[in-house]
């Protein structure tokens, strides 16, 4: 699966978790760029990503997730 095909769904997950309907995500985006993306919401985001793409992440994957780009790469590797 390609990056382009998962972006719309991932963006929907972000919008739902961070309660922001106009949020547009990009590869370089990190927790500093999104209001409310803190350690509390991060785990809710992870859980929603797992549900949306029907994948199971490992703790090791979490340690590698430093921005949206890392998250996309990890999702793609699991699909």
């Amino acid at each position: 699966m390609e990056e382009k095909s998962i972006m719309p769904e991932l963006e929907q997950v972000f919008r739902k978790v961070f309660n922001n309907e106009s949020l547009i995500i990009s590869r370089g985006m990190s927790s500093n760029d999104v209001d409310g993306w803190n350690s509390l919401n991060h785990m809710i985001l992870v859980s929603e990503v797992e549900k949306a793409f029907s994948i199971k992440l490992k703790l090791k994957d979490l340690n590698k997730m430093h921005n949206v780009g890392d998250m996309i790469d990890i999702i793609l590797s699991k699909l």
Partner: protein
């Protein structure tokens, strides 16, 4: 030989000279020898413990790297963590378990009275043990390779600026720095001296002066009224910050003079507008350690419970933080209170954020000021359990406070005046750093006269207002 002792003020400049005379690739050896010399001078037997933890961590991290399977790595990681936690548990919790068993024997009248063994907690054991655990987990998670040179691992765990009370550093920051050749850099040395100077101000002028008042009140709770206890409890938060924050700045400054960059440990905590923000500014090295090695794995495990999974993870993390601080019931309660504060904030996060955004509260000065004050009061109220000597004393403090605070507080003219002067200067500097970081510069002013005048002013204040002869820091007991 603590940082405020005369011995240290002789030891450190001498070491810095020897360090920079030593050829670059051998400088780590000078540091290792100096670190063990420093620690042995506190109590020789304590150095055996840190070397034991070093040896175990070195052997197991090397084995973890060589293990072929993930389960093999995990098993070795767990064995090392258990092994290095044993001395920490023994020294930290021996007295509590011992007393518990003795009182149990007493209650069944089967006590055989023998002379009591009193154990001294090896200074810094909680700090270097956590650093060793973090390193072991990082190697096991393949985030870093294990270090082949046992001397570098020994230096990481015994590095004298950090061994007594942190900051709890990480191997991925420190090991590469110890391995590379440090060049003599006068700009870094100047920065380090400035940090040390301000650290000494915080410790000697603010913390130890306020400590006189706090000790007088908390040392005799029955004789003091609710107002005095409120004042002393608020002051204790400031004392603790100036003490530990000051210690941290001295430690970071010493390391900087030696060309080693150490993480920040405090970031103006009294300007936090919520408890979660407070814990991102207070004892940062411990909280980030707990976040990475306890909170994240726990919240990941409980993620299907959504926000309640986060609440469980927060409560367990702060319970561990409480136990780490001390074996008594007071610290367990203290940890649970912090966990409760953060859990309430997690549960109300969405509602609060949208309310604040809707009314544009985060930009209103009165709202920010009230939030800072509220956070400070919450933290100070919880610190009653951190300061009182036992649960009975802590409960007595609360009962006296709630039975009426309209009394004249205990007065100690000079102590209060000097504390006020010290604290005002500290808070003004922090206010500048928080809101106007590029303005009203003193230590970093381009004008050489202003710069030097400010150095002399701080030195004068340390000598004139400072409290000497204490030679201890609050966090040495943890």
């Amino acid at each position: 030989m603590v940082f405020t002792s005369l011995n240290f003020l002789l030891f450190f400049p001498l070491l810095a000279i020897v360090y920079y005379i030593t050829p670059g690739k051998f400088r780590w050896i000078t540091l290792l020898v100096a670190s063990y010399f420093f620690y042995i001078n506190i109590k020789p037997a304590f150095a055996l413990l840190v070397s034991g933890v070093t040896l175990s961590t070195y052997i197991f991290t090397r084995l973890i790297d060589k293990a072929g399977t993930e389960s093999g790595k995990k098993t070795l990681m767990v064995i090392n963590i258990v092994l290095i936690l044993l001395p920490l548990f023994f020294f930290k919790y021996f007295a509590v378990i011992n007393n518990g068993i003795l009182s149990l024997l007493d209650s069944y009248k089967v006590r055989w009275p023998l002379s009591e063994i009193k154990l001294l907690l090896p200074v810094g054991i909680s700090f270097y043990t956590f650093m060793a655990i973090g390193y072991t987990i990082d190697v096991s998670n393949e985030e870093i390779k294990s270090e082949k040179n046992i001397g570098i691992v020994a230096l990481f765990l015994s590095f004298f600026p950090l061994i007594l009370s942190g900051p709890i550093e990480r191997a991925n920051n420190m090991l590469p720095q110890f391995k590379k050749q440090v060049e003599l850099d006068f700009a870094l040395i100047t920065q380090g001296i400035k940090l040390m100077l301000w650290g000494y101000f915080m410790k000697l002028v603010v913390a130890d002066r306020i400590g006189i008042y706090v000790d007088a009140v908390y040392g005799n709770i029955t004789q003091h009224n609710g107002t005095s206890l409120v004042v002393a409890s608020m002051l204790y938060s400031i004392q603790l910050y100036a003490d530990f924050g000051g210690y941290s700045l001295i430690a970071i400054g010493i390391a900087k003079i030696l060309g080693i960059d150490v993480m920040q440990n405090f970031k103006r905590p009294f300007f936090a507008t919520s408890m979660s923000e407070f814990w991102r500014r207070w004892h940062i090295s411990l909280i980030s350690w707990l976040t990475d090695y306890v909170y994240t794995p726990l919240s990941f495990t409980f993620r299907r419970f959504k926000v309640w999974g986060i609440v469980i993870a927060i409560m367990i993390t702060f319970l561990i933080s409480g136990i780490w601080h001390g074996a008594g019931l007071t610290f367990i309660i203290w940890g649970l209170i912090q966990g409760t504060f953060l859990s309430i904030e997690a549960l109300t996060n969405k509602g609060r954020t949208s309310f604040q955004t809707k009314h544009n509260l985060n930009k209103r000065i009165w709202y920010i000021a009230l939030s800072c004050l509220f956070t400070f009061v919450l933290f100070s109220a919880s610190m009653v359990f951190g300061r009182a000597k036992d649960l009975n004393d802590a409960l007595m403090v609360y009962s006296k406070i709630f039975s009426g605070i309209i009394h004249i507080p205990y007065r100690d003219g000079y102590t209060m005046l000097y504390s006020f002067i010290g604290f005002t200067i500290l808070i003004l500097k922090e206010f500048r750093d928080e809101y106007y970081p590029a303005h009203f510069l003193l230590f970093d002013n381009k004008n050489v006269i202003i710069r030097w005048l400010s150095y002399y002013a701080v030195i004068f204040m340390i000598l004139y207002f400072g409290v000497f002869g204490q030679e201890k820091f609050i966090y040495f007991q943890y």
